[in-house]
Amino acid sequence: MKAFLLYPDRDFDLELDLPPNEADLSSDLELDPLLLAMAGGDKFLLDVARRGLHSGLTIPAEIVYRQHVLADCIARPAVVRELYDVSLAAITGERKLFGWTFRDSPESVLYRARQVMQLYLDMFRRLRGIADAHAASFGSEGFTRFFAMLTEELADGYLAEVEAQLGELAFRRGTLISARLGPGAKGTGYVLRRHSEQGWRDRIPGLNKAGYTFFVPERDEAGMRALSDLTSRGLNSTSSALAQSADHVRSFFELLRAELGFYLSCLNLRDRLTAKAGPVCFPDPDSLVPAGAGPVRLSARGLYDASLALSLDDHQAVGNDLDADGRQLIMITGANQGGKSTFLRSVGQAYLMMQAGMFVPASSFAASVSTGVFTHFKREEDITMEMGKLDEELDRMSAIADQITPGGLLLCNESFASTNEREGSEIARQVIRALTEAGIRIVFVTHLYDLAERYYGQHDPATLFLRAERQPDGHRTFRLPAGEPLPTSYGQDLYQQVFGAPDQAQTARM
């Protein structure tokens, strides 16, 4: 029994490690506000939202599979919540059924497993009820398969058989066990046996089957313990099998809860974003492009930073248009606080969301999938020695090089700025060249004029230059139109804004 609501052919793996750079992604792309909106105050949903967001699907068909399931959820949220509630009831109900002895014996395992299975039987019947009532109104492949599976696996006749078997496992005629002689002539190979049908001969002493009977005196505690030990051995594999079945059903309900939980968290986020009037759309995922095997796609309309949008009280986050089809390297220069970092984050978020099968914060978004999103952002940690800072940066880049693969997406925010411009540019050039040649896409925000200017001079059609906009009065639009790099980053503007006193000499030079 499989829910298969996240993948057409496999479970949502809750044990899978998050990407090694999950912490970096989380802080660089400011994923927390996004995830908190998805969780809506539920710790469990926070966890599945985080795991779901980092799914990293690379096959467009798998992405579309989720998009369709999610579309069903958007259309019938009440039914989805009802299914979620049944799975939750199964899980919480099971937790209340404690075993009643401290030491797990096969008898206590069996006793508890019988109770648990009885509970699950009721939940199965509720699931069947939902399936019978609503299956027809769901159109996605995922839900269609799910409801069909419930109807088939939990047929009425089967549920009745389970109920009967649970009753028989009470052993009212005593426990019959067969054995052979093992090492040291001790009994071994205990197998639970069905009593043979009793005929008239069996009831008459002396005529029944050859054998010997003895009684363990009730006051012989060690003897009674030994007897219960023997019973345990006989019941061992049967009780284990039943407990395993109960486990399996529990994991079915747990997975069902997790998989539905992911979609519920998507519904939460959608509610929050649309309440802010932020557009969302299902992106158009394109296949992975192997290195040098053709142009990669990346274009968007109205792409914005969802976390920023969620934290803005009144005004809407600024959306950007991006036309970077066929571009391996996007180099972004321009005004300080001109929206460059925000833009990087919006690209990173959209990629993660697209490859999680979610909608994205944009009015349209089409892109080739990536094999992984990586961030290399300038860190504000207080490292006093300049050398130490560069070391730290290079160390992080080296860790990325260990993990990133062809088809990866690297978002750099002022990388290699912790040394002088000449050295920083040289290191950056070597890194960019090696990575882009290996089929990795890079979006590089930089103040290294030496670096940006030299790339601009190469007129490579696979490189796109964007520049944070600044109007003649120094006002920033937070938009990033295409534009060549300029030798200064308008730090003076900010200086003016903060200190209010215009510095004549510098303004004149600009």
């Binding site: 096969p106 395992v109 054998g211 009977t213 009730e218 007897l227 090089a401 290996a438």
Partner: protein, 487 residues
């Protein structure tokens, strides 16, 4: 000597898990003639064959099982338990002997040691004593294996009957729940304490089973009285002796897999010409596992009148390791073992002596320098021209002048004896004391502190400054990245 050369660690590791064979006396008995060394080399050449090594290991395992079974047979109290374990001991023994005989016949090892034992086994396994034993084991075992019975438990009532085809209820239950059986991880079967003893309920049940199946249990009783002294003495001795080889083989196998070379040294009892390549400290290699492949290997040779390596150089330059390695090679060679080197031609010494710097011993009431002098006198009195002497940082507790003067005298005495030795010292001028002395220098190549290269070479010290470009340090140059991403 073992402790100075870290051979105590080596032998403890070699013998670990093999306490029952008591191998230490073998390690303490070096060989004195080259033919005996060659005899052992031959045996180990045979054992290099994985098939033979496996046969020997299987034999050892089976014999260990036999001893455990015998232990149970003598320790347990219930009558049928004792006799059943005795039967199993005999069964393990028969299986061990037959499997080993078959393997030796098939492999037909060429060493004198194995060939003689193979002939012995061939005769023994054809003897009436052995064939009778195996036949009885098989007959009694199969009779007992056929016993099947049922126990019906209801409350405190227990009924024991023969098993007569009652249906398996557990599979029935499984069938019903089969659809939920996939992907389950946790096994709920309770692990029962595998106690060898029977409780009185079990004992009572077995008694009743014996009454249901009297012939099988009578045969068991007869077996025990008939075969009380089945174990052959020669086979028992082989079981222990072969562990001397197997233990060392198992000890060095992972190191060989890690890329370290071992070789059978060419031994001489007369020529002191020495030629060794790719030698390393075995104790250190064991400690570095599984990354021992990077261990420093050294080469050295002595020709003509050369007898003594005088090792100088900076601290932590691998001098002590070199000295230990030199001593280890000679001692291991004298046990007939392959030595930790790629290639080695060695002199077979009569004894290996060491003189290492010691912590001050308050009990002797002597100063450290005096204590050292007393010890070196003792060594030089006992040593002969055929000995090996390894001296490490001797006389470091006194002034440079004293250390030089005493060192000269000791070196002269060593030279006069004509023995082979290593003399590790901080006194540079000792390196060229006389024609018997060969100067070796420890070098430090500080490329990457993580991969220290500590070679001892026949040339003066030289320091290599190494400063990598900062990007290179993180393997982020264009070239390095291309390589990394090409994986």
């Amino acid at each position: 000597m073992f402790r100075d050369l870290n051979l105590d660690q080596v032998f403890a590791a070699v013998a670990s898990g093999r306490d029952e064979y008591d191998l230490m006396p073998y390690f303490a008995a070096p060989l004195r003639n080259v033919r005996a060394v060659q005899y052992r080399h031959e045996v180990q050449h045979d054992l290099a064959d994985d098939a033979l090594a496996k046969a020997v290991a299987d034999f050892a395992l089976a014999m260990r099982e036999m001893r455990e079974n015998l232990g149970l047979a003598s320790r347990l109290r219930e009558r049928y338990q004792k006799s059943r374990w005795f039967l199993d001991a005999a069964r393990a023994y028969c299986a061990a002997v037959i499997a080993l005989t078959d393997a030796l016949t098939a492999i037909d090892p060429g060493s004198r040691g194995f060939a003689a034992f193979r002939r012995y086994l061939a005769d023994y396994t054809r003897s009436e004593a052995f064939t009778g034993l195996t036949a009885d084991v098989a007959r009694v075992t199969s009779a007992l294996d056929e016993v099947r019975y049922c126990v019906l438990i209801k409350g405190n009532r227990v009924r024991v009957t023969r098993y007569e085809g009652e249906a398996d209820y557990s599979t029935e239950v499984r069938r019903t729940f089969a659809k939920f059986a996939e992907r389950t991880v946790k096994d709920y079967r309770v692990g029962f304490r595998g106690r060898a003893e029977m409780d009185h309920v079990e004992a009572r049940i077995v008694e009743l089973v014996a009454r249901l199946y009297p012939e099988a249990f009578q045969a068991l009783d007869d077996f025990c009285t008939g075969h009380s002294g089945y174990l052959d003495e020669t086979i028992r001795v082989f079981d222990r002796e072969v562990q001397f080889y197997a233990a060392y083989r198992d000890f060095i196998a992972p190191m060989k897999a890690a890329g370290l070379e071992f070789c059978y040294p060419v031994m001489s009892a007369s020529a002191k010409e020495t030629n060794v390549r790719g030698a390393f400290d075995l104790a250190l290699a064991a400690k570095l596992m599984p990354r021992a492949g990077a261990i420093v290997r050294n080469e050295f040779h002595l020709t003509g009148a050369e007898r003594i390596f005088v090792v100088t150089g900076p601290n932590h330059g691998g001098k002590t390791t070199f000295a230990r390695m030199f001593g280890q090679l000679h001692y291991l060679a004298s046990l007939g073992y392959p030595v930790p080197a790629g290639e080695a031609a060695l002199f077979l010494p009569d004894r290996v002596f060491t003189h290492f710097e010691r912590e001050e011993d308050l009990a002797t009431l002597r100063g450290k320098f005096e204590d050292e002098l007393v010890r070196i006198k003792g060594v030089l009195d006992e040593a002969t021209g055929d000995s090996v002497l390894v001296m490490n940082e001797s006389f470091a507790s006194t002034t440079l002048r004293d250390a030089a003067r005493v060192g000269e005298q000791v070196l002269d005495q060593m030279t006069a004896l004509g023995l082979l030795g290593v003399y590790v010292t901080f006194v540079d001028e000792l390196a060229s004391r006389n024609a018997a002395c060969v100067s070796m220098v420890g070098t430090v190549v500080p490329e990457n502190p993580a991969e220290r290269t500590l070679k001892i070479v026949r040339k003066p010290a030289d320091g290599l400054a190494y400063a990598a470009a900062i990007a290179g340090k993180y393997r982020l140059t264009y070239r390095q990245l291309k390589e990394r991403l090409a994986r």
